[in-house]
């Protein structure tokens, strides 16, 4: 990581002017830079910051699209309603469970895959191609594939894994909370592990081989080399992978929508928000949920960066 940061952090700017001629050219460069980034920045703000502010405003109203004239200012009562509702906490708990479990499993599988991809000398292209297929596949398609895999009439899980004591030919995976959550998480893990493993592979390839070799000469076991040399040197890459995947997993929606539609208490925070707005037209309440969701994501991002103690901008070479 450190080598890449060093090269990336020194952007070659052959045109950087000398002090004497600085002011005019620097000003022109500054103006050009702002002009070039303006379209992208405006577009990003129009679709995120502006609607988010509008959500903040709407969240203080009782506002149902079916009865728009009945709109009434309510202060924070939407928030108190939500925060005292059991369903909200149940859904938040589901989302957190899905996030923690999928990210933890993906970290392990993804690291194993990254190790294999790093070591492998033959068929590199074949491995990378096949690992990119789950990455590229539509999440809805992944959800259908796994729903049919776990299907009671048409799935192969029950017949292939019938030898396990808790699986029989009539195991209904979508009939109960935990099995349904399990199926959802399998689909999520299958689809997103490739992304994780590619990020980890990039981190792995930046760990110096000399260091590993030195540890080997000093008599470190494979396990010690992994925990004392390889992993600490990949901290930034691991953090980036965990951060991206955790926040992505926290948004889980597609898999749940296709596989259970929130039945058996498998609803996620995103699904709850969607249901309030699109199915029940509760724009006021839905906006309050949106704001809470946004704040939760900020909190998670903050906690993860604190936990890894890596400055994200620095990790990305933007010192």
């Amino acid at each position: 990581m450190s080598t890449a940061t060093a090269t990336a952090a020194t952007p070659s700017s052959p045109r950087t002017p000398t002090k004497a001629a600085a002011t005019d050219r620097a000003k022109a460069e500054n103006r050009l830079g702002l002009k070039l980034v303006a379209p992208a920045v405006i577009l990003m703000l129009v679709v995120t910051a502006w609607p988010m502010l509008r959500a903040l405003y709407l969240s203080t109203f009782r506002y149902r699209l079916t009865t728009p004239d009945d709109r009434e200012f309510q202060g924070i009562s939407n928030y108190t309603t939500i925060l005292t509702d059991r369903l909200f906490w149940q859904d938040t708990l589901n989302t957190v469970i899905i996030m923690v479990v999928t990210v933890a499993v993906e970290l392990v599988i993804g690291f194993a895959f990254a190790m294999v991809m790093h070591r492998i000398v033959f068929a590199r292209g074949a491995v990378r191609t096949s690992i990119l297929i789950p990455y590229g596949i539509i999440t809805v398609v992944s959800a259908f594939a796994w729903q049919f895999t776990f299907s009671i009439n048409n799935g192969w899980v029950n017949s292939w894994f019938g030898w396990l004591p808790w699986i029989g030919p009539n195991t209904n995976w979508f009939g109960d909370h935990w099995p349904a959550m399990f199926a959802i998480m399998v689909s999520e893990i299958w689809k997103t592990t490739p992304f994780m493993s590619l990020l980890l592979l990039a981190g792995l390839s930046q760990v110096s081989e000399d260091m590993i070799e030195a540890a080997k000469v000093d008599g470190a076991t494979w396990w010690q080399r992994l925990w004392k040399v390889i992993l600490p040197n990949m901290r930034a890459a691991i953090m980036v992978a965990v951060l991206f995947r955790a926040l992505d997993a926290f948004r889980i929606f597609d898999n749940i929508y296709v596989m259970t539609k929130g039945a058996q208490g498998t609803e996620s925070s995103s699904f709850l928000t969607y249901r309030q707005v699109i199915e029940q037209f509760q724009l006021g309440m839905g906006s309050a949920l949106s704001v809470l969701l946004f704040l939760t994501v900020l909190l998670i991002a903050y906690l993860i960066t604190k936990f890894f103690r890596v400055d994200l901008a620095q990790a990305r070479g933007e010192g």
Partner: protein, 277 residues
């Protein structure tokens, strides 16, 4: 001894990766050849008993699916094209120029990459109805652009930093006009990066689901993932497995082709964008 064990471990890992990644794909392909008769009575075996092409005939005759396919291609391609243009401008500035607010732009992009898309559904739904963008192509293209810009900007600025820009001046010293220098020297160097950003952007737009079901209401703008989720067939308790699997295979084909052709570029783009920055 140790080396042999390592090689064995890598070999086993290789097989595991292939099985893990390809088994579900093989499963939907197999399912797409099972007839409706076979799936309605229950068909837990992996391979079809009597392979049939009927599902493919049905799905390609289904006007809703064809519409959705057209919408998906149109929306994804336009969003990709515009997003990459905007991102190229921004990334050029970030990689090459000194200006105030560079960090702010990157932080904004980072924040948007992690933004919970669902929290925009409500306000966007409301705004798009006011602006008559609800259930239109632009209504999806605009948000897709803003959500793909962060990834495109990172990937591109990482690529642009590696370009030896001095070559542009070198070409000019050798007598090339600035247009020639740009076209013959810089464009070929920048093209792979731009192309990679385009692939990643296309994947996002092709995959997006939340906005696609929330901001559309008819087949005139509904994309494939949205259309598939509404496609339950006549009997809600017995979904048309075969046809859904067939639709899945059809929309996965473009992905597989892109992956087969550009595997190297995609890996480079994903890792440079997220780790090296």
């Amino acid at each position: 001894m140790n080396r042999a064990r390592n090689a064995l471990g890598t070999g086993v890992g290789f097989v595991l990766i292939l099985v893990w990644c390809l088994l579900p794909v093989a499963w939907i392909i197999s399912l797409s050849f099972k007839s409706a008769d076979e799936t309605s009575v229950g068909s837990p075996q992996f391979l079809p008993k009597n392979p049939t092409l009927q599902n493919y005939r049905d799905i390609l005759d289904n006007p809703d699916f064809i519409d959705a396919l057209r919408n998906s291609f149109g929306i994804a391609l336009i969003a990709t094209f515009l997003s990459v243009i905007f991102a190229t401008l921004a990334a050029y500035a970030i990689a090459r120029l000194d200006f105030r607010g560079k960090r702010a732009v990157l932080s904004l992009a980072l924040a948007i990459a992690m933004f919970p898309v669902v929290s925009l559904v409500g306000p966007l739904f409301d705004m798009w109805r006011t602006f008559h963008l609800f259930n239109t192509w632009p209504g999806l293209i605009i948000p897709y652009m803003s959500f793909t810009l962060p990834l495109a900007i990172w990937t591109l600025s990482a690529f642009f930093r590696e370009i030896p820009w001095e070559m542009e001046q070198a070409a000019q010293v050798d007598g090339a006009t600035s247009w020639q220098a740009f076209r013959k020297v810089i464009v070929p160097l920048a093209a792979p990066g731009v192309f990679t950003a385009a692939i990643l952007t296309f994947f996002f737009a092709w995959n997006e689901f939340v906005l696609a079901i929330s901001l559309t209401s008819t087949t005139s703008s509904r994309t494939v993932p949205a259309q598939m989720s509404f496609f339950v067939g006549p009997d809600p308790f017995n979904p048309p497995y075969g046809q859904l699997a067939t639709a899945s295979v059809v929309v996965t084909v473009p992905i597989i082709i892109i992956v087969l052709l550009f595997q190297r570029k995609i890996v480079a783009g994903l890792t440079s964008g997220a780790v090296k920055g």
